[in-house]
Amino acid sequence: MRLDPIALEVLWKRLIALTDEAAGTLVRSSFCTIVRESNDYACVLMDARGRSVAQSTVSVPSFLGTLPITCKHFLRRFPPDSLQDGDVLLTNDPWLATGHLPDMTMITPIFYRGKLVAFTGCTAHSPDIGGRIRSGDAREVFEEGLRLPPHKFVAAGRLNALIVDVIRANVRVPDQVLGDLMAQVGTNEMAGRRLVALLDEYPGLEFAELAQIIQDKSEQAIRAAIRALPDGVYSDEFDVDGFDHPLTIRCAISVADDALTVDFSGSSTQVPQSINAVLNYTYAYTVYPIKCVLDPRVPNNEGCFNPIKVWAPEGTFLNPRAGAGVGGRALTGHYLHAAVFGALAKAVPERVQADSGAPLWFISPTGVNRRGERFAGTIFWNGGMGASASRDGLSATAYPGNVSNTPIEMIEHEFPLRFHEKALVVDTGGAGRHRGGHGQRIVWEVVNHEPITVSFLVERINHPARGRLDGRPGAPGAVLVNGRPLHNPKRIVVLQPGDVVTLQTPGGGGFGKPAERPSAEIEADLTAGELSAEAARQEYGVVVTAPNRE
């Protein structure tokens, strides 16, 4: 089969569009808010060996490369000859799929003229998975909800009634959860129909060959990008807050010709709380920043990931043993960009960022309001982004997580909270040739008639975002209740009516020497209120004499 650059471009685009169309269908029919508002899903087309060929364009990074891993697990349990048309496979096992229970990974074998040719798959965050409220201090995965081992959710067109009953009995909003699962079934089916139509339209087209060409081309492009990096071993090591004691992330990136290996050996042992990141998740949040640095334009498929190996020893908090608590994995996974950028800065400093004021912060308030209704939900906020060689970091918008905030007006409708302030905090972005993005201060008061329970998932209280190439660190975050810092904010707390909480998200790190920041940019920062006169003097040695400044 010979494909010229036109035919290949058109067919490749078709396959990506097929996954995008599947994504459109999934988002449209999902009840889950974070699927819709935060793109917490992915749709993937895989070949008959479970290797990805195309992935939907919009998605959170968590699912980079995870569906093909899950598909291969399925194939081990259900070899090709045990699969038939009308089967649909499902699991949410954190170790086989995406690293926490709420993500449902569903994969459907696609047959063409009686032969297994492909798999269509999607992962989507479920509206609920049972268990206790989302927090950082579940001690085991068993507290975090229902675990579904790999199984045929649909077998030859027949829904597995027992599993449906089990799910129904274990989640708080069964209609929504099952509705979303049915939407996933429909999404895979739709993608499968599109693929079959494409094969009908191009007689003589061998899908396996097309898949191979796409994977090879992508692999060559990524290998070429790796080859352009200087060979060597680049390492980084730093501490993170952890749950009640700091944990270490140690990372060594080896670049050898056209292959790249990331080794997290030497990182801390897993912890008896839920901030462990399963290897698949560690993998996704490691290859994501690497791909941003290497060549973000190559469409995602197996070929992009073949040249990149990620390893963390079993038993570390970056590869915990089965049974560990993993629901707060983002508090760990969102740090990994810092390790990757920190290491690669030694090879290609001009292509990385300083550390961001990440992980993403979120709170989960629960309780009963004045009308006697139970409320529960999650509210997200961001710290500042790290600066890079060519620009300042964005304020209150961090890397790598990408979840939008909830409008104050919406929160006040849904929760008995009243907000007094939500403002950028000047000088919290680290100084440098380029300045880190600022964090923000959010002040709210409990206005319920009775106490409420809040789980804070916050980070970088004790370990600020580092600067890069002599850039200064960002300011650390803070959680205060009635003006006093919480001893361990990751523990669930009970707040009284009238309690006032102040959250300050961490700033991003600066990039390059502050002394090299041109005075025009310092002036502009002063004028724009991005820098105080005091910090101008302390960090940049600029004395402000302008009389019109307060």
């Binding site: 449209r28 429909g186 334009r297 890397y399 909830t406």
Partner: protein, 695 residues
């Protein structure tokens, strides 16, 4: 000669003018270069030409409707007024913080749109209202006066006011307005509760800030235009096209310029809806392909789809989320980086790509021979025989086939392809780009478009419509007469329209229907007043209610049409049914029994559909002058000698089998080998692919 309606569309490059005669529908058209620094100048020059050429006087002109890119360009070029903002204490940074979302996951050098009001001009006032509208902290008037001083000192020309929950109680904003009126009598003022009485503080604040930012220059421009038209002897009231596809009076437009941003594209969508409906096709895809972009919009049951939010001035034109969110109704369309000027290139993996970069009008495609050397879509169309080098723009511009071939060769050689095959590849890839974008866009709306009709216009639309339709599985194409000025025709068919919104968040079951009826009553009265002020007779007014509703806990509302009449608890089941029907259409399923919430309530006032004169091109230049000829055209894999018809020589009910080309001044229509062209009574070209079925 009788009485005429006059429409003009001031675009980025050209200003299009049309006159339609009442009764006969005779259409007179003109096209002049836009004068960006003084847009009214081009209008006056163009209208002078049209009047003179046709021996008309301004007295013959009645209705006058106008669309403009003035406001869009002012935002993009940051040419708006120096604007101040007053917010609730603690929230001056809302405008800068935004929604904390990165619009491109992989770009480490991401740039966000800059806040239009710098920190120094964002002032705070102590005041607080809760979500139910109750005053928790009274407005500190001294804070407002202090802000006014800051603004005065900084030379602020327009002030926006946006307090938390002002949609629930506008009292503090109104009071602030009064204080500002006294303190800074020369500044213009915009209140968030008036411009966009909508929940979500960032989007509401951005919307009201943009409105303030645009007010002074829009008012100046409209004043000047009206003055010049009046001096020239035009007596009729001028109207202006809104992003929603309605029209409003000049006074209203000057007060709410934020509603004009998408006026040009809205006119195009309305034109497509009109041409489709007149020809008997009420479900259409409007496909407008020009020099740099293609715009696609869905029309269902004769109405262009309207969304309640869009984005202005994106940092990256084709990246969703990179612009300012604007919470006012606008025709819902997508823009793709695919036009005649889109540049073909080879990516790092050796694949052929087209766009989104465009050669624009200068230097333009290589075949313009103005110094451009990069291969563009127009170059491919020329090499493949779709365009006639001597009849581009009605022969006003001569295209160079040699330059086009040289440019295409620059990609053909590295790809190891013959020039013709590479040119075909450029067409194939750009058509694929448009078809896939349209497919994903309609899938998001849950639409099956195989029975829709593609209404193609714009300079490049009719030449690409056949391939795009085939790729989309759409079986019918309609190309209206006067492709290049179709948008301007849309202006003349637009109904007068007013959209109002009021936020009142409540569960449907526990809604205070007294309050709901009062909200609807108030909005309906406002809509009636505005429409009758715009000259619409009471019996011509149609009021439509809707609400943004969702299942409790979802962060995402859908627009649900609601019934007329007094609402009360006895009608709860009926209201729930309205929600269910809409939800099911969009998402394919519902959640029986789940609690429903309402966020915003809306009333649209529209002028009922009127009998509109059907535009007919008469006395167009070149009529009958182009005899039918033929030339080789590359269809799929080889050149085939293809007959070429002059559009002006065609008569209604003519039937032509493909392959064929139909040439007119502004465009060329391609009819593929498996398609049949029929000319309808309105002189539209109707192309059926594959014997009327889908491809």
């Amino acid at each position: 000669m009788g009485r005429f309606h006059f429409g003009f569309d001031i675009g980025g490059t050209f200003t299009d003018l049309v006159f339609v005669e009442e009764g006969t529908g005779a259409l007179l058209i003109g096209k002049v270069l836009t004068t960006p620094d003084d847009p009214a100048q081009a209008v006056m020059a163009g209208v002078q030409d049209l009047l003179e050429q046709n021996g008309l006087t301004p007295e013959a002109v009645d209705g006058l409707v106008h669309a403009t890119t003035l406001t869009t360009n002012a935002i993009i070029e940051k040419k708006g007024a120096r604007t101040g903002l007053i917010t609730t204490k603690g929230f001056a940074d809302t405008l800068q913080i935004g929604r904390e979302l990165r619009y491109d996951l992989y770009d480490l050098e991401l740039e966000m749109p800059k806040p239009l009001v710098p920190k120094a001009l964002r002032c705070e006032a102590a005041e607080r209202i809760d979500f139910a509208g109750e005053v928790l902290t009274a407005l500190d008037e001294a804070d407002v006066l202090r802000a006014a001083k800051v603004f005065e000192a900084a030379g602020v020309q327009a002030v926006a006011v946006s307090f938390l929950h002002s949609y629930a109680n506008p009292e503090h904003e109104s009071r602030t307005d009064s204080i500002l009126r006294a303190a800074m009598p020369n500044a213009m003022r915009s209140l968030s509760s008036e411009i966009c009485s909508d929940l979500r503080e960032y989007e509401r604040t951005t919307t009201v800030v943009l409105n303030a930012y645009l007010q002074p220059l829009t008012a100046r421009y409209l004043d000047d235009l009206c003055h010049r038209l009046a001096v020239r002897g035009f007596a009729g009231t001028p109207y202006i096209m809104l992003s929603s596809g309605g029209v409003a009076t000049i006074a209203e437009a000057a007060r709410q310029p934020i509603r004009l941003i998408e006026s040009g594209p809205a006119a195009g969508a309305l034109a497509a809806a009109y041409f489709g409906t007149e020809a008997g096709y009420r479900d259409v895809i409007a496909f407008d392909m020009g020099g740099t972009t293609a715009k696609i919009c869905v029309v269902r049951d004769g109405r262009a789809q309207v969304a309640n939010q869009f984005e202005a001035a994106r940092v990256h034109r084709f990246k969703k989320g990179s612009g300012y969110p604007v919470k006012v109704p606008a025709v819902d369309l997508i823009e793709i980086g695919a036009g005649g000027g889109s540049i073909a290139w080879i990516d790092g993996m050796g694949l052929l790509k087209v766009g989104p970069e465009s050669a624009g009008a200068r230097p333009g495609p290589a075949c313009y021979a103005q110094g451009g050397i990069q291969p563009c879509v127009t170059d491919a169309d020329l090499v493949l025989g779709y365009l006639d080098p001597s009849h581009f723009l009605g022969g006003r511009m001569r295209l160079s086939r040699a330059c086009a071939e040289a440019a295409i060769r620059s990609i053909a050689e590295p790809l190891g392809l013959k020039v013709a095959r590479a040119a075909w590849g450029v067409r194939e890839v750009v058509n694929e780009n448009m078809a896939r974008a349209a497919q994903v866009y309609t899938a998001e709306q849950g639409l099956d478009i195989s029975a829709f009709t593609l209404v193609a216009f714009g300079g490049a639309g009719p030449a690409h419509a056949y391939d795009v339709a085939r790729k989309l599985g759409v079986g019918r194409i309609l190309c209206p007469l006067g492709s290049g000025i179709a948008s301007a025709v849309g202006l003349l068919v637009a109904p007068k329209r007013i959209d109002t919104v009021q936020a009142y968040v409540t569960s449907l079951e526990r809604a205070d229907f007294g309050r709901v009826n009062a909200i609807f009553g108030d909005m309906e009265a406002r809509a009636r007043r505005a429409l009758s002020h715009a000259g619409v007779a009471p019996d011509e007014i149609e009021l439509r209610r809707s609400a943004e509703m969702r299942y409790r806990g979802q962060g995402y509302e859908i627009a649900v049409p609601l019934p007329q009449g007094e609402l009360h608890e006895g009608r709860l089941d009926e209201l729930r049914r309205y929600f269910d029907d809409t939800y099911r259409t969009l998402y394919g399923r519902i959640l029986p029994g789940a609690p429903i919430e309402v966020i915003n309530w809306r009333v649209s006032g529209l002028q009922r559909e009127r009998a509109i004169p059907r535009p007919m091109l008469t006395g167009a230049p070149g009529r009958d002058s182009m005899a039918s000829t033929s030339r080789p055209v590359y269809w799929h894999d080889e050149y085939v000698e293809t007959p070429v018809y002059s559009r002006y020589a065609l008569r209604s009910r003519d039937v032509i089998e493909g392959p064929a080309l139909v040439q007119e001044n502004e465009t060329t229509t391609a009819i593929g080998p498996d398609a049949v062209l029929r000319v309808d009574d309105a002189m539209n070209l109707i192309i059926e692919i594959g014997g009327g079925g889908t491809a």
